[in-house]
């Protein structure tokens, strides 16, 4: 029984990590007032860019160095998601396009890129079969050497690749920056009231660009974790599924707080797979349980709007284009 619970917790955390990255990225972006619905697409691109980088490296050398495997694929992933979020930032900030339409188009575009290269990468290099980056996947899955020696505790909490821990560290750092630094204060002010921030001498445009791009890069790591660690370097089209939207749901569930996002992600990750751990569950009942995260999110959404408590609201200017028409 305890072993089952332990393995469930492990699985929930593994499922939760990509969600955590996605929701952290979206929180950072939304804090500046940008509702980036392109995050699901960015996560696909983050994943496939890592795969492409790793693939090219593994192909070009005889014996791939694990460290270089990680560095190259990580850099490729970050660059891919940064480019994606730059498209969003350019269209919504500089060209003042509607955020919802831009975001949805970005998701279509990003999922398309992911699946296209996922399905055609080998063909483009005149190879056949399916993508599987053994070395890079192995490098990402490297765990602390002493984890298995610590018994159940070690296996449950210390048996993850480095990207899992970095997600939690990034969450804590994000929380610190948002709440304890001037940068965070300025960013939050922009999301709440860009005109006031502007009058206080804050460069609204710069902050919105940077937070959108950083947010996108962090979200992209969720895609990278999924393809490198979870599936160990293999790509299946649409394998990432709707996790990107679940990440956006977590932002609401966590009330835009990075630290709450950690546990929310693990809860949602757990709900994603709990059906496997409940014995005797029919396959149809499993589908009902998978519905839970969304229902819970809607309930939270209704609750915060009914309560109307100021601290729990989305950033006030979320989704709105700021234009300093007159001064």
């Amino acid at each position: 029984m305890i072993a089952t619970i332990a393995s469930f917790i492990t699985a929930a955390i593994i499922q939760g990590i990509p969600l955590l990255y996605g929701s952290l990225g979206e929180i950072i972006t939304e804090k500046s007032g940008n509702l980036n619905l392109g995050i699901p697409g960015i996560m696909y691109v983050g994943g496939i860019s890592g795969i492409i980088g790793g693939y090219i490296y593994e192909k070009s050398v005889e014996a791939p160095n694990p460290i270089l495997c990680i560095i190259i694929s990580l850099a490729a992933s970050l660059a891919g998601s940064a480019l994606m979020s730059l498209i969003y930032a350019f269209l919504t900030q500089t060209l003042k396009a509607n955020q919802n339409v831009t975001g949805l188009a970005l998701t279509t575009f990003g999922v398309g890129i992911g699946n296209f290269f996922g399905g055609s990468l080998l063909k483009l290099f005149n190879e056949s079969g399916s993508i599987s980056l053994l070395e890079t996947g192995k490098a990402y899955k490297t765990v602390l050497p002493f984890a298995s020696k610590l018994g159940l505790f070690g296996e449950t909490f210390l048996s993850f690749g480095f990207l899992a821990y970095s997600a939690i560290i990034i969450a804590i750092i994000t929380s610190f920056i948002l709440n304890k630094t001037r940068t965070g204060l300025n960013l939050r002010a922009i999301g709440e009231n860009p005109a006031t921030a502007d009058a206080a001498g804050i460069n609204v445009n710069k902050y919105k660009y940077l937070s959108t791009v950083f947010g996108g890069m962090i979200a992209g790591l969720g895609g990278l974790y999924f393809v490198m660690d979870y599936t160990a370097g293999a790509w299946t089209n649409n394998g990432f599924g709707d996790r990107g939207w679940l990440a956006i749901a977590i932002v609401i569930f966590a009330l835009w707080k990075p630290k709450s996002a950690i546990f929310s992600s693990f809860i949602f990750g757990g709900l994603y797979i709990i059906c496997v751990y409940i014995p005797g569950l029919s396959s149809s009942a499993k589908e009902i349980i998978k519905m839970l995260p969304y229902i819970v999110t809607i309930l939270v959404l209704i609750f915060i709007s009914a309560k109307n408590k100021k601290e729990h609201q989305p950033p006030q200017s979320l989704g709105l284009t700021y234009f300093r028409e007159e001064r």
Partner: protein, 511 residues
């Protein structure tokens, strides 16, 4: 002699063809409080915005401590130790006072604890009573104002500009604010305060500078002046406009307003026991400094504003019945058979839909008529054509979105539609604001026509000359209450100006 803290020489600024400021001179010494007095639209705020870096002057010079300076952004103003407290606060609601105060600062480390200590120090120095960790949304208006003042002091301002700071304060809070200002003055700071209230001017300031219609009238020492001299400087000599005014024919009580009280979303009392009667065949003027409750009054009558108490009795000339319009929606008011037309202050944001063409705007009020599910555009089209030709609206066509028309033409479209509904009560808020002379006279004539048809016209205006020549009676409002009702034929500008700036004594002070 020490150079003045700030000196303006021949400052001018125009927006398009409207001159907001013309050759203004102003001097404030260290440790001095200057009141800037003037009616609405006299250019006070524009002038102050040029000192604080929001606008840039077209001509003229600014001297700080005797040296000429250029102020292009709010940051420049901060660098010259100038701070302005705007009428509309620029604060982030969910932040604490301390967070708002340090927002955007770059020259110090971010440390809320230290900042809090610094804020406490400033508070003690000047006698503020503020909790730096309190959130803005939990604060009263006066607390928010305190945060704004501390924000300016925190940045080290030596010259403080306050734009109508007492408009939102109770008399007690005003007293407290003045005590703080006096302490700052003793500290050697220079203060410019914009206000309309004469008694405040006399009690707080050392000097008074008066602007009228963008022009500089003069500066007097407070000790050597009195209310009547200031009023005369502010409103000027009477100018004859030659607006035709007929005698009211058979006036009857059409709309009886009885003890209206209203509290707005900020918790401020915006209507305080307001009572008056609007008669048929008369133009009733409403005078007052902007924000004295005129907007809420008209919106309350139109069914757009919730009231705490009071009655709005409409005497229907057709059925001879009387209805209370209070708490009725615009639709319910129309269903009662009340023909109430309303030209709101915000023409494109409320009275019209900017992106719709003239035809579609004509049917805003009437589109629901008839049982058909479809719109009937024939009549609105005829009406649009009629309004365009009768009121000489200059437009490429009746299918042009009204957003593309000029201000005067937008107003003609709006007034034309409201009059076309054959109202028994016509309310117009600042109907000639921003209009040229010809359009203005056209609007006056339209109102007069309505009056002669027996309509009860309520005209909210800001130009006292117009009010005196156009209206039959004038209700003067001050801080949400009626400070007097005068006969427009016998009253003078000075009398109305005095009533407008009269201190609210709570309750009604009718005659």
């Amino acid at each position: 002699m020490e150079a003045p803290a700030i000196e303006l020489r021949n400052i001018s600024k125009s927006f398009g063809y409207i001159t907001a400021n013309k050759n203004i001179n102003l001097t404030v010494n260290k440790g001095e409080i200057l009141s800037l007095l003037g009616e609405n639209g006299s250019g006070k705020t524009t002038l102050m915005n040029m000192i604080s870096g929001i606008y840039y002057p077209d001509a003229g010079q600014i001297f700080i401590d005797g040296k000429e300076v250029v102020i292009k952004t709010p940051k420049d103003a901060f660098d010259y130790r100038i701070g302005m407290i705007h009428q509309h606060f620029k604060l982030v609601d969910i932040f604490s006072a301390a967070e708002n105060i340090v927002l955007g600062l770059r020259n110090e480390k971010f440390n809320i604890k230290q900042s809090t200590a610094q804020i406490k120090k400033i508070s003690e120095q000047y006698g503020f009573d503020i909790d730096p960790s309190k959130k803005i949304y939990e604060m009263s208006v006066s607390e928010k104002q305190t945060v704004e003042i501390i924000k300016v002091l925190y940045r080290g301002a030596d010259i403080l500009i306050l734009d109508e700071p007492t408009a939102v304060l109770t008399p007690q809070e005003t007293e407290k604010l003045f005590a703080v200002l006096r302490r700052m003055k003793e500290d050697g700071k220079s203060i410019i305060i914009i206000t309309h209230k004469l008694h405040e001017v006399l009690s707080i300031s050392d000097k008074v500078a008066v602007l009228r219609k963008g022009e500089y009238i003069g500066t007097v020492n407070t000790a050597e002046t009195n209310e009547s001299e200031l009023t005369e400087m502010m409103v000027g000599k009477k100018i004859s406009l030659n607006i035709d005014r007929s005698e009211p024919v058979d006036p009857q009580d059409r709309l009886v307003i009885n003890k209206l009280n209203c509290i707005n979303s900020d918790g401020l009392k915006v209507l305080d026991n307001v009572s008056f009667t609007a008669k048929s065949g008369e133009i009733l003027g409403v005078a007052g400094i902007a924000g004295s409750g005129q907007k809420e009054l008209l919106e309350a009558i139109a069914g757009l504003q919730k009231l705490e108490s009071g009655e709005i009795i409409y005497n229907n000339p057709k059925t001879n019945s009387s209805d209370n319009l209070r708490d009725k929606t615009p639709l319910q008011i129309r269903e009662l058979g009340v023909r109430l037309s309303f030209v709101p202050e915000d023409r494109l944001g409320m009275g019209l839909v900017g992106n719709m063409d003239i035809v579609d705007n004509m049917m805003l009020r009437s589109y629901k008529k008839g049982k058909s599910v479809f719109l009937e555009r024939k009549k609105p089209r005829t009406l649009a054509e009629k309004v365009v030709s009768d009121l000489e609206v200059s437009t490429p066509g009746i299918e042009t979105p009204v957003r593309r028309l000029s201000g005067g033409n937008v107003q003609k479209v709006l007034v034309g539609r409201e009059i076309a509904a054959a109202p028994t009560v016509l309310m117009a808020a600042y109907p000639v604001r921003g209009l040229d002379i010809n359009s203005s006279y056209l609007i006056y004539n339209l109102l007069n026509e309505q009056k002669e048809k027996g309509v009860a016209v309520i005209f909210v205006g800001e130009d006292l000359d117009v009010l005196i020549e156009l209206c039959d009676k004038i209700v003067v409002m001050s801080s949400g209450s009626v400070s007097g009702i005068v006969d427009a034929r016998t009253s003078t500008k000075e009398e109305i100006g005095f009533l407008m700036t009269k201190k609210a004594e709570g309750g009604n002070s009718n005659e």
